[in-house]
């Protein structure tokens, strides 16, 4: 699965992680207490989340935050 490239500085692997864990956007949103739209826009790079959300997503998938988000070189 290709990384979505809408954010100029940040790449994310949320879609890949969701697919691997068989989790829908709504389930992930409910698990970390945000709207599905927040997950959707973060995933497509249209919105850069706070550190809190980044950490919550990482914790949900039990991976370090660098495995979810990485700076584009």
């Amino acid at each position: 699965m290709a990384i979505l490239k809408m954010n100029e500085e940040l790449d994310n692997h949320i879609h890949k992680l969701r697919q691997a864990h068989k989790v829908s956007q709504q389930e992930l949103a409910d698990a970390i207490g945000v709207s599905r739209k927040t997950i959707s826009t973060v995933e497509t790079g249209r919105f850069t989340p706070s550190v809190v959300i980044a950490l919550k997503i990482a914790r949900h998938f039990d991976v370090p935050v660098e495995a979810v988000f990485e700076l584009r070189e």
């Binding site: 697919q19 829908s24 956007q25 709504q26 949103a29 945000v34 739209k37 927040t38 826009t41 995933e43």
Partner: protein, 163 residues
């Protein structure tokens, strides 16, 4: 068998719905305010046009009242801070609310500055536009309402498919 259990809305969903209702109110107010200005621009409009514009204004005001009722009902489910400051717990809803307000404010400020600096009896605005100062203020208010609502709709459009 039909599942009748209705899932309770999360805070994030309530905030998003609240903001969308706000958009509908803003746009219906904009339509209601635009009708008399538009009607005033028409030269000898046919009777049917006047009736049509009256009907549109009536629909806009009824729609606004319905949305206000929903707004009032939903406002009990959100925090007082969100209600008065339009700041929300959900990050994306808060971001959309903030950016829309900033755009609308800048447009309104631009209009107010234009009327303040160029308006009045001897102002040059009178030579440029066919409206009175009040008409110009109404125009900029309508524009800011449309920009506010339009920006929120734009930011909420194009939801990616959940997979």
């Amino acid at each position: 068998m039909i599942d009748n259990t209705k899932k309770a809305m999360s805070t994030a969903d309530i905030e998003q719905t609240f903001l969308k209702i706000n958009v509908k109110i803003s746009l219906s107010v904009a339509v209601f305010m635009a009708i008399p200005i538009f009607e005033g621009m028409l030269i000898n409009p046919p009777h049917a046009t006047g009736v049509l514009l009256g009907l549109i204004a009536f629909i806009a005001i009824v729609y606004m009242l319905v949305m206000l009722a929903k707004y009032s009902k939903l406002s009990k489910k959100i925090s007082r801070k969100s209600y008065w400051t339009m700041q929300f717990k959900d990050e994306y809803v808060d971001y959309v609310s903030g950016i829309s307000q900033r755009f609308a404010f800048q447009v309104l400020l631009l209009g107010a500055l234009m009327v303040s600096l160029l308006g009045g009896e001897d102002g040059s605005l009178k030579e440029l536009v066919p409206f009175s100062d009040l008409g110009m203020l109404q125009f900029w208010t309508i524009l800011s309402l449309v920009i506010y609502g339009g920006m929120i709709l734009y930011k909420f459009h194009g939801d990616s498919e959940d997979e």
